[in-house]
Symmetry: C2
Subunit: 382 residues, 2 copies
């Protein structure tokens, strides 16, 4: 798989007035750099895209815009990280700062991928810690003019070759029917990627190892896939789906775990329109989803002793997204994420924060679920 | 006051084998730098000074030594930060790393002052986060040889002029008897120094302001002193005591708050030998301490409604140490420090972590205590 190569390089953000202050910051993935002289400009603040659009062109032009949106859950707040640079560039801003998308930490900035729209200039984009965003807000609230100097050496090089990692245990009686389970093997350059997504990779491997070590021979093939480049392009997941475009019928289900090491409460069933034929109605899709969810719910009693029997209709995951989009029944894993977003994409995502007892519990949950799916009579397809 | 000028500069610590890994590190105050080429060497680990001394010269010479002492309270563990460089240099080490002196954080390294002994070479010294110390320990435990590259631009410049900040409200009937209360106005270059010791300065000022705003006229003079350079030389506290060497008799008591914003549980009475004449016995000193403690305990009922009536014989504080050493009755403030050592001397010591309700409670406690001391009939001196 060819993957993008984005290099952070040296970077810094310094408030130069009303008082000199070094910010805790991290450039966002794919961002351009500032050039060696950096960018020094006034900082203005917007709490939301709507508040930003209400500003005058004069207020925005030549300024660094801080998008200081409160954290309202990852899915709701992450568009600021992804889209703010283009939104601000269209109106003449010279750089954007984004309040870190995550819970308050210990002055840890959270990086992550951003994206440039085709119709906007490419301006540098960085995340700052929630504490530093609050400080800028306090300065502005008391009427100070805030000026900052942003320096980022960030640059993107030629694509390089990377690899998905694949291993499987063959099924005993339905070996051509494959259940994919995995996580992503890449991580951000800061921290260690322990929860995002080292633990997801380990859980998939360990669950399948547990089945194998127990001398169980599931009917279907269990295949562990560790996808590359989830974080900054999703090239691994896309390439895997493309590579198997001609044999998608052989995929019984695709599952991934990519939200840390919190205890697993259950699973999320994700069936997309492509699973049905083109003439299918919305009602037929809903019926197919309900039927699949019902099959998962029939497995819930097996998982109830580990408090992991919650079955929902919802989003599955990023790496199996291309498979799901192509019609493969997909299953997301519901972890307790109450602490996950405090550390993910930050320096704090370290091995020390992996609780071994929780990981063993989660591997057991996955093993039970995978074995049950592998031996299930019915299909999750419509 | 002339104060030392220590500049951190750029710094980094990279594990280069068995796998490349950037460490979360902070150079220690007063440390020398590595020179532009840095230091690349094998890392060895010692859990204690005793364990270090048990190592062979061959194991130490040319190595970077990680002192990975578990945190057993600030006073017990801080000698590793202060003395490790000289201890290791005497046996041929080329640099030292110290496990951050504090609670586990979110991969935040804790800086602080170190000191070079006169009989040892000066080698660079840096703190690494507890999580990174644990990673090195894991690598070594599985038999890997760990090599690291340390780069520190740290340097010490000529002393510069700084100032203590002093303000007071004059006493009504005993104005020549002074109660000093304060904190230190300097902080480390990382973080914002919000708890160490911005909040201590604020508490002293706010307590005296509360008394003034309440139209109370205490008998004795209440003087707020914000000392400079506590962190890296104690020059402010030393200069203040020296400046008042001839009128120390006028100091009724000296008080400081320098352990964060946790709720105040009470006070610590600190009376040193110089408070008695040269011929005094240990028994007389003990009796004098007990008498002073008894006087503080007589104030405890006033503080009981705020749960701040605990009175102990113990250490008072660093900035008033020179006054205490010269015989001034000194009083430390006992804050709840259960969270303080997670953030002090680190990037995480920010204004966001100051709880306003706790601060108001603490200012009220100080105001009550100061007013009671200012109007107390008896002296705290022997």
């Amino acid at each position: 798989v060819q993957v993008p190569v984005w290099i952070r390089g040296q970077e810094s953000l310094t408030i130069v007035s009303p008082a000199r202050h070094e910010m805790a910051m991290l450039g966002l993935g794919r961002s351009v750099g500032t050039g060696p002289d950096g960018i020094t400009a006034e900082v203005i603040r917007a709490e939301s895209f709507d508040a930003f659009q209400a500003l005058t062109d004069e207020a925005i032009r030549g300024r660094i815009v801080l998008f200081d949106a409160p954290y309202e859950g990852y899915g709701r707040t992450v568009p600021y990280r992804v889209d703010a640079a283009s939104v601000a560039a269209r109106r003449g801003a010279v750089a954007v700062l984004v309040r870190s998308v995550g819970l308050d930490g210990m002055r840890t900035a959270h990086t992550g991928a951003m994206r440039y729209a085709e119709d906007a200039d490419q301006i540098p984009a960085a995340a700052i810690s929630t504490e530093d965003a609050n400080q800028i807000a306090r300065m502005l609230a008391r009427g100070d003019t805030v000026r900052a100097q942003l320096h980022m050496d960030a640059r993107t090089l030629e694509d390089r070759t990377s690899h998905n990692v694949v291993g499987e245990i063959r099924g005993s009686t339905r070996a051509d029917e494959v259940i994919v389970v995995g996580g992503h093997i890449d991580s951000w350059d800061v921290g260690q990627g322990a929860q995002d997504d080292g633990v997801g990779c380990l859980l998939a491997m360990e669950a399948v190892r547990l089945i194998h070590a127990s001398d169980l021979r599931p009917a279907r093939t269990l295949r562990v896939v560790l996808w590359t480049n989830e974080e900054n392009g999703l090239r691994g997941g896309k390439a895997y789906a493309l590579e198997h475009a001609d044999d998608l019928d052989h995929f019984f289900a695709a599952m991934e775990t990519d939200t840390g090491n919190g205890l697993i409460s259950g699973f999320r069933f994700d069936l997309r329109a492509a699973a049905l034929d083109d003439a299918a109605t919305e009602a037929e899709l809903t019926a197919a989803r309900d039927r699949g969810l019902g099959l998962l719910e029939s497995l819930a009693p097996l998982l109830a002793p580990l408090d992991a029997g919650s079955m929902l209709l919802s989003y599955s995951g990023a790496d199996i997204g291309p498979l799901a989009e192509a019609g493969v029944p997909s299953i997301g894993v519901s972890h307790d994420t109450s602490e996950y977003f405090r550390i993910h994409h930050s320096d704090a995502d370290t091995f020390d924060r992996i609780n071994m007892a929780d990981m063993q519990n989660n591997a057991a949950v996955l093993a039970i679920m995978l074995y049950a799916l592998a031996d299930m009579d019915a299909s999750l397809r419509p």
